[in-house]
């Protein structure tokens, strides 16, 4: 029951998902969310370390 999307539909959906990420998280985070996992984790680590240095308190 795994869905197999035709290539043209897959491309269209990928674009729609990217547009959603831009709407929901902003341009920069949308770009980050589409990076390979290793690079995404590195970005998150930098984001966190920068926030801690600035004294941001987490929820």
């Amino acid at each position: 029951r795994k869905i197999v999307w035709p290539p043209a539909v897959r491309r269209k959906l990928r674009r729609a998902i990217y547009d959603f990420h831009v709407r929901a998280f902003g341009e920069e985070m949308a770009r980050v969310n589409f990076l390979p996992l290793k690079e995404r984790r590195r970005y998150v680590a930098e984001m966190y370390d920068h926030a801690v240095r600035k004294g941001v308190k987490f929820d």
Binding site: R1, I3, W5, I17, D19, A24, F25, V44, M47, A51
Partner: protein, 305 residues
């Protein structure tokens, strides 16, 4: 000097690896899992799912797990004990390693809130599966919902049809067109998918999101009310700083046995919870929009099974 994110991540992943080597069934969920599933979120906490039957072994491990030479403490006076009896009823336990800038926080669940299937059946590496993570993110906090949709979209793109249960963005729902493509059983579980090409989608989607908000608001209220006598009893214990975790735990168990109901949601009644959420929703949305709400009973069936 604060721990870097890489150090924190290594600390939590090492904790999970050691727990599993002792037979503890557990998996990281929420923010840290979101990063693995394609949505960046930086968090200081680690949210961990732990099978209720594994809580004793996990507590033993936590007692031995030091960060910069110090073991953790229970965090806050409202934290129930890490004990299978309360974990089966949906309570959570919270621990902190807090020493001069080196902080780590561990929040432990036995049940995945709103989980419609056992999370243990679908673990991916260190993490709970995306379906579980997305269900847990359907909270009463607006900031969580984009993460639900992002995970759902990732699941659908990867061919997992359950992703349709997690798309809460109108444009994306129309793009994925569940009415044309979603399997029959999912259309039954989430009637709104039938509206992908219908002008009624927007109000129906708004009603559905508000319904989940109300369910979570009432659920939290049930637990917050149930914890008060326990909190009052625990406040009298006045433990000095540096009390061993095993002693902290024993005192919490004693207070809980006398003052903390094991399953307040079951006592309250899931039917009553759903009826009150619908009642609250009726004040906010048009009845025609509420006609497309899902049957959410399956999301509360795991309590005290």
């Amino acid at each position: 000097m604060s721990l870097t994110y890489a150090e924190l991540e290594r600390f939590y992943e090492d904790l999970v690896a050691r727990a599993r080597s002792r037979g503890v069934v557990c998996a990281i969920t929420s923010g840290m899992a979101c990063v693995a599933f394609g949505v960046a979120q930086s968090t200081q906490d680690c949210d961990l799912l732990c099978a209720p039957d594994s809580t004793g072994k996990l507590l033993d491990l936590l007692s031995e797990t030091k960060l910069e030479g110090h073991p953790p403490d229970y965090r806050g006076r409202m934290t129930p004990p890490l004990d299978a009896r309360w974990f089966r009823g949906g309570w959570t336990s919270h621990f902190a390693w807090e020493r001069l800038g080196s902080e780590a926080y561990l929040d432990i669940f036995g049940l995945a809130p709103r989980g419609s299937s056992p999370w243990e059946a679908e673990i991916r590496g260190f993490y709970a599966g995306p379906h579980t993570v997305a269900e847990m993110k359907r909270t009463n906090r607006a900031k969580d919902w984009p993460f639900v949709t992002a995970i759902g979209a990732r699941m659908l793109a990867a061919g997992d049809p359950r992703g349709w249960l997690h798309i809460y963005d109108e444009t994306l729902l129309r793009a994925f067109d569940g009415a044309a493509h979603a399997p029959e059983d999912l259309l039954k579980r989430r009637p709104i998918l039938e509206l992908a090409k219908d002008s009624r989608l927007r109000p129906a989607l708004h009603a559905e999101i508000q319904f989940w908000h109300e369910l979570d608001r009432i659920r939290l209220h049930i637990y917050e009310r149930a914890v008060r006598p326990y909190w009052t009893a625990l406040r009298k214990s006045r433990l000095p700083s540096g009390t061993p975790l095993a002693v902290q735990h024993a005192i919490r168990v004693r207070c809980a046995e006398n003052h903390l109901p094991v399953d307040p949601l079951r006592d309250y009644g899931v039917d009553r919870l759903m009826a009150e959420a619908r009642e609250a929703l009726a004040q906010m949305v048009h009845p025609s929009a509420a006609a497309w709400l899902p049957d959410v009973r399956g999301h509360f069936k795991l309590y005290s099974e």
